[in-house]
């Protein structure tokens, strides 16, 4: 029984880390522009599929991973330049349609560039399971957890110690004030898309050996990442991480102890409950509406 619980916790934390990485991407773009980027899940797909293709051409794994992140980042930058950046002052519905359009477009392109099949990526350090407190954990799970911790440390350094990171943070607090102190908020938005796409691609590369990848994986992962971001409080970085982990854990425990068929329902029921009772998320600041 104990081993089973550890098993569920381990798989929950693995999935949760992936959700957290996707949710971070949502929050980074939201902070720079108040846009919810529904194409965020497609960066995950592009990362996974690109890595599979690069490995198939004989490129060593580390290079393939960096290449996949690079490809997704370029797609993200192009998305900002060609679509979202051009409609920045549009209302929320318009922006939602643009990014959903982008996600359908990217999925369509992926289906043409690659195919409709499901692909597996080789794990980073073999697939011999590790026995741990009565549970068996695949080594790739440890890579997912380790990489997520590394990303969180790197991001907190980036936002505290670099000029671009500080500029992005300042823009999220108050775009007008940020502009007044000389921050180019257009550049911030551009960089945000690149960063968010890179994070999504990393998530896609990390999860591909466990859950496989195809041109359609972005839909659910994107929606779960959005749910995680809302759960933690949209725009909050600690919130995105906590939201992702909580969502992953609850899903895994729910699938294990309640019903695996309703695993995905659980995530969205949770979101509705949180939205009804605490619309700003678990870690979001409670904003009172001024009348």
């Amino acid at each position: 029984m104990g081993g089973q619980a550890v098993q569920f916790l381990a798989s929950g934390l693995t999935a949760g880390s992936i959700y957290a990485l996707v949710a971070l991407g949502f929050s980074i773009i939201f902070n720079a522009s108040r846009v919810i980027n529904f194409a965020q899940g497609e960066f995950v797909m592009i990362g996974g599929m690109s890595a599979v293709s690069l490995v198939a051409t004989g490129v060593p794994m580390p290079v393939a991973i960096l290449g996949a992140i690079g490809i997704a980042a370029i797609v993200g930058l192009a998305l900002e330049r060609l679509a979202v950046g051009r409609a920045k002052n549009a209302d929320i519905v318009t922006l939602i349609i643009i990014t959903i359009g982008a996600s359908i477009f990217l999925r369509g392109v992926a289906q043409l560039v690659w195919d409709k099949n499901i692909h597996a990526l080789a794990p980073l350090s073999g697939d011999t399971p590790i026995a741990f407190l009565g549970a068996t954990i695949v080594p790739q799970s440890l890579w997912v957890l380790g990489a997520t911790v590394a990303v969180v440390i790197a991001l907190s350094w980036f936002f505290r110690r670099t000029v671009l990171g500080k500029a992005m943070l300042a823009t999220s607090y108050n775009p007008l004030a940020a502009q007044l102190v000389g921050i180019d908020i257009k550049k911030v938005l551009f960089a945000s898309f690149g960063l968010a796409a890179g994070l999504g691609a990393l998530a896609g590369v990390l999860i591909a050996p466990i859950t496989f990848t195809s041109h359609e994986v972005g839909i659910m992962l994107g929606l779960k990442g959005f749910a995680a971001a809302i759960l933690g409080g949209l725009g909050s970085f600690p919130g995105a991480i906590v939201g992702g982990l909580v969502l992953g854990l609850l899903e895994s425990l729910g699938a294990g102890y309640v019903s695996s068929a309703y695993k995905d329902v659980l995530a969205f029921v949770l979101i509705l409950v949180v939205l009804f009772f605490r619309p700003d998320g678990i870690l979001g600041a409670v904003k009172s509406e001024r009348v």
Partner: protein, 332 residues
């Protein structure tokens, strides 16, 4: 007093009266729509063309309702395919398993979905913008997953057959007859929507779209109005869903999917928000486009995605209002 009356009388001679003062301007568009629907069969050369026209009408009914919610009240929903799916499955299950006459099944299912929308409407519509998008999206996905998982009742992901349709013992069969049925329903839906928009309730919706605080200040119960239009749009979606189920004779959970919700919102936004005829045009264009693209099936998603992005970037007001503005300028 006398001079005022005099000046008014003399003033009234100058401007010419509108040609038909008895017909409200809103009903002229309705007449045009009815005329187009009545004449369209001359262009429908075979059953396939009828099939596409029926699908256009069914989608247009959903879009006219959804446009009241998105375009007029300014509340987004990314979950209306859920209501569509529930209407479809509700009608089908009542008719197939419970022996309810098809027409009564359609009405019962629509009423049940309206009740559901009424119950969830108030807490959901307290949310705004991106949070509202997330909540409606979540609701739609929950419905879609339940429909796909309860295979004992719904037949699961493979779908279920639906009995044929009849109204008060009169069987509706064949594309031709179905076309007249859904065409009539569409005209009725548009008539309802136009009347609502021109009523005090419609003005209240537009007011709260502009500013909920300002609307409250002038005495509008904005929460109640939002729930009312949410329920109405859900009822339109459920009724169209039920009709779709009876027409096609088979339904799958994909009709309740997130992608279908996105398609519906895209039709509304493409045609033009806050334009009832825009919703009809959007439904027509985006229903016909994938049919035309089946020749180049593998490019379908690329083209659909590109159309969505390009329209929203260059014509954020949508096709019909943009064209109307351009046409208006030229004629002047």
């Amino acid at each position: 007093m006398e001079s005022l009356a005099q000046s008014r009388a003399s003033g009234s001679e100058a401007p010419t009266l509108p040609a038909s003062p008895r017909v409200a301007p809103r009903l002229r568009g309705l007449a045009v729509l009815a005329l187009v629907l009545a004449l369209l069969p001359f262009a429908l050369v075979n059953a396939y063309f009828y099939d596409v026209a029926i699908l256009v009408c069914l989608n247009a009914i959903v879009c006219v309702g959804l446009n009241l919610l998105i375009g007029y009240a300014g509340q987004i929903s990314l979950g209306h395919a859920g209501f569509f799916g529930l209407g479809a499955y509700g009608s089908a299950l009542l008719a197939a398993n419970w022996g309810v006459p098809p027409f009564a099944a359609l009405l019962l299912a629509t009423a049940a979905v309206s009740l559901l929308a009424f119950v969830v409407g108030r807490p959901i519509l307290r949310l705004k913008g991106n949070y509202l998008a997330m909540a409606t999206l979540g609701l739609g996905i929950i419905i879609a997953i339940v429909l796909a998982n309860e295979d004992g009742v719904t037949g699961g992901p493979d779908g279920m057959p639906v009995p044929s349709f009849s109204v008060l013992g009169f069987a509706v069969q064949g594309e031709r007859m179905w076309y007249w049925v859904v065409g009539t329903c569409l005209v009725a839906a548009v008539w309802l929507a136009l009347n609502l928009i021109d009523s005090p309730r419609g003005r209240a919706l537009r007011a709260l779209h502009g500013s909920e605080v300002a609307a409250e200040v002038v005495g509008i119960d904005s929460a109640g109005q939002k729930v009312m239009v949410f329920v109405l749009s859900a009822a339109f979606a459920a009724a169209a869903g039920g009709l779709t189920a009876f027409y096609s004779g088979f339904i799958t959970p994909s009709k309740a999917s997130f992608m279908h919700s996105v398609e519906l919102v895209t039709m509304v936004v493409f045609g033009g928000m806050a334009s009832t005829f825009g919703a009809v045009v959007g439904a027509a264009v985006l229903t016909v486009l994938p049919q035309a693209l089946t020749v180049v099936k593998e490019y379908e998603m690329v083209v659909l995605g590109a159309v969505m992005m390009v329209t929203m970037i260059f014509f954020p007001r949508g096709a019909v209002p943009t064209l109307a503005a351009r046409f208006g300028r030229r004629s002047r």
